[in-house]
């Protein structure tokens, strides 16, 4: 009898401990919960993978070349041979939309990565060292944030001329300021934490503190910011191309496709809709994913 009671006591104790363990979630588990609970984010992730797959293997998937003209097949309606029809030069729309994914994804990922790297470095420096450096960097950020970003990018494109490489540079230069602000404030609060103070008092070098203690703690924020910055970069590229100061013909850029098909809006709307829908799907997918990540990874960002 007594033995039984002791056993039940032990079991109860164990189950109490179980719940305590459950409370502490690691980063990986948090990501798992995003995927498990937020079906929309999970679905978006799948969509993004499919689009990346299409973009990478565009030359394998597509039956036509992106710039293969066929003047006798101009402005064809959707058919089996051309599921989304052809444009005014007889190029296959579906092919061009798939190739466009290459450009949009590269534009979404690469300049965003560069501008976030710049922003992170400047934010870390400003937040960690403070003083005059902080003041200078933050005023520069103020100035950059004051420009309507599209106009600033337009100015860069004006001086350097159109073309994809220049869009890269323009978007990398324009968008670092908001990242630097967020990272700065995060660095400020992190550098007041006990373990950073302790490291400082032990004479650990600044670089080590920044890279070992502060930067890793900014990673969740950066992941969320990165995911949410991709769509705005994609939108900027398509807007620039749409205005004629971005990618130049005959590049298969979605924005460019929309603008060249604009005159056929009323006669063959699919020419406009296909690239426009493509932009929207990519942007939505990244937004959904970013939202899902933010809810779990970084409640702090949510408040802003």
């Amino acid at each position: 009898m007594k033995k039984n009671d002791n056993m039940s006591k032990n079991i109860d104790r164990e189950s109490v401990f179980d719940t305590e363990i459950e409370m502490e979630e690691s980063l990986v588990e948090k990501l798992k919960t995003v995927i498990k609970q937020n079906k929309l984010a999970f679905f978006s992730l799948i969509v993004i993978f499919i689009i990346i797959f299409c973009a990478v293997f565009a030359n394998v998937i597509c039956a036509y070349g992106p710039n293969a003209q066929s003047l006798k097949d101009r402005l064809l309606a959707p058919s089996f041979a051309h599921p989304l029809g052809t444009d005014e030069l007889g190029r296959d729309t579906l092919t061009r939309v798939i190739y466009g994914a290459r450009i949009s994804l590269t534009i979404g990922l690469l300049p965003t990565f560069i501008s976030m790297t710049i922003g992170t470095i400047l934010g870390l420096i400003a937040g960690y060292f403070g003083g005059k450096i902080d003041f200078a960097i933050m005023r520069l950020a103020d100035i950059m944030l004051a420009f309507p970003s599209l106009l600033l990018a337009m100015v860069v494109m004006y001086t350097m001329g159109g073309g994809l490489i220049n869009i890269f540079i323009a978007l990398s230069l324009v968008n670092w300021a908001s990242t630097s602000r967020v990272i700065r404030s995060e660095t400020l609060s992190l550098s007041k934490k006990e373990y950073v103070e302790a490291a400082k008092s032990m004479g650990v070098s600044n670089a080590t503190i920044i890279f070992r203690h502060i930067l890793p703690n900014c990673i969740p924020t950066l992941v969320v910011l990165f995911t949410l910055s991709i769509p705005s970069a994609i939108l900027s590229e398509s807007s620039l191309s749409f205005l004629g100061v971005g990618a130049q013909p005959p590049t298969a850029s979605w924005g460019l496709m929309v603008v060249s098909a604009k005159k056929y809006l009323f006669t063959q709307p699919v020419l406009v809709l296909a690239p426009a829908m493509a932009i929207m799907i990519v942007v939505l997918a990244f937004n959904f994913l970013g939202d899902g990540l933010r809810d779990v990874l970084d409640p702090y960002l949510k408040e802003q």
């Binding site: 009898m1 007594k2 039984n4 009671d5 002791n6 039940s8 109860d12 109490v16 179980d18 719940t19």
Partner: protein, 335 residues
């Protein structure tokens, strides 16, 4: 019938991962008219949940799943949302723990108090304002007329709590629930606020439910005490009896952990362990894991509520054994 509030076998549960977790598991509480009743216990034992169920403001996943709350002859648990709102703030009002965050930061304090009276009484704005200034004077807010137009952040913690008391008392409620009203305040302010509450309630005939984890507060103003642990009432009696004839080991632990001035103690007594998670309650008595007097029976079955005297209820096997075997185990007298 001189109880204004009678709670019988009240059960409040949350749906967690498909199963019900009981935050309150069959509690019985009586509040006599014009008396001050203390509810004590550690954080997470269900004190605030009791208050919120009386107010009808349990947050969403939680709900009342059984029992009754009878307030002056009306059953609260089955009341419509609209009727409940008419009682709240008028017949039953509440003071919260954090005077810092319990007032809306962007609305003038006078207006916030005025809102309560305009809502429940047919009264003109000017009259209402007069009443607010009157109550401000009563709760000891200096320059009441000027303070009417202050924002919460312009007042000290003590003044803000006085505003809260004014807001709660302006409709002369029958029952005032005070949820740790002095925990966030300085000790000197604490005594003033307690005295004020006691004075106001005596003059209007309001009963008070004083929720606290501070035995000092209980000793100071309460007539009756309910000791709660993990969603159950484990001991209830007159304040004096509780202090002198402590029957439950948990109560004893609470009393022993009060530091005493003028007595040398190596180490302040603490009850070992923590309040169990309501999802994972022990099979037997809820306190068993932390009890110094636990025996075999305590691990296997739950003690029933038993009256060892008029007005003295306790839920513990230990006590039963003392009675049955005329055993003379007494707790070491807490000082």
């Amino acid at each position: 019938m001189d109880n204004i509030l009678t709670i019988r076998d009240l059960k409040v549960a949350f749906q967690v991962k498909g199963k019900l977790a009981y935050a309150l598991d069959g509690i019985n509480i009586d509040i006599p008219k014009g008396k001050i009743v203390g509810i004590v216990g550690e954080s997470g034992c269900g004190k605030s949940m009791t208050a919120m169920s009386i107010m009808g403001l349990i947050k969403n996943p939680g709900k009342i799943v059984g029992g009754s709350i009878d307030f002056c002859g009306t059953e609260l648990t089955k009341m419509s949302v609209r009727d409940y709102a008419k009682i709240r703030g008028k017949d039953i009002s509440m003071i919260f723990q954090e005077p810092m965050t319990s007032l809306n930061p962007v609305v003038k304090v006078g207006k916030q108090v005025m809102e309560a009276i305009i809502l429940h009484e047919k009264i003109s704005k000017e009259e209402a304002k007069m009443r607010v200034i009157e109550i401000f004077n009563e709760v000891g807010i200096p320059e009441a007329e000027k303070r009417f137009n202050s924002y919460p952040h312009e007042l000290s913690g003590g003044l803000r709590q006085r505003v809260m008391i004014g807001m709660a008392m302006i409709c002369k409620p029958k029952l005032l629930i005070a949820d740790e009203p002095t925990t966030a305040l300085d000790v000197t302010i604490e005594a003033q606020i307690l005295k004020l509450m006691k004075k106001l309630c005596e003059s209007v005939g309001t009963s008070i439910i004083m929720i606290t984890h501070n035995m000092g507060v209980v000793a100071e103003i309460c007539d009756y005490v309910y000791v709660m642990y993990a969603g159950r009432v484990v001991e209830s009696t007159l304040t004096k009896t509780l202090f002198n004839e402590t029957a439950h080991p948990y109560t004893n632990g609470l009393l022993k952990s009060i530091p005493t001035i003028g007595k040398k103690q190596d180490r302040l007594y603490t009850i070992k362990g923590n309040v169990p998670n309501i999802l994972n309650l022990p099979k037997g008595c809820r306190f068993v894991d932390r009890c110094d007097y636990a025996q075999d029976i305590c691990f296997s079955s739950r003690p029933a509520d038993e009256y060892i005297k008029d007005n003295h209820m306790v839920s513990c096997f230990l006590h039963k054994r003392i009675e049955d075997e005329k055993c003379s185990i007494k707790f070491k007298k807490h000082s």
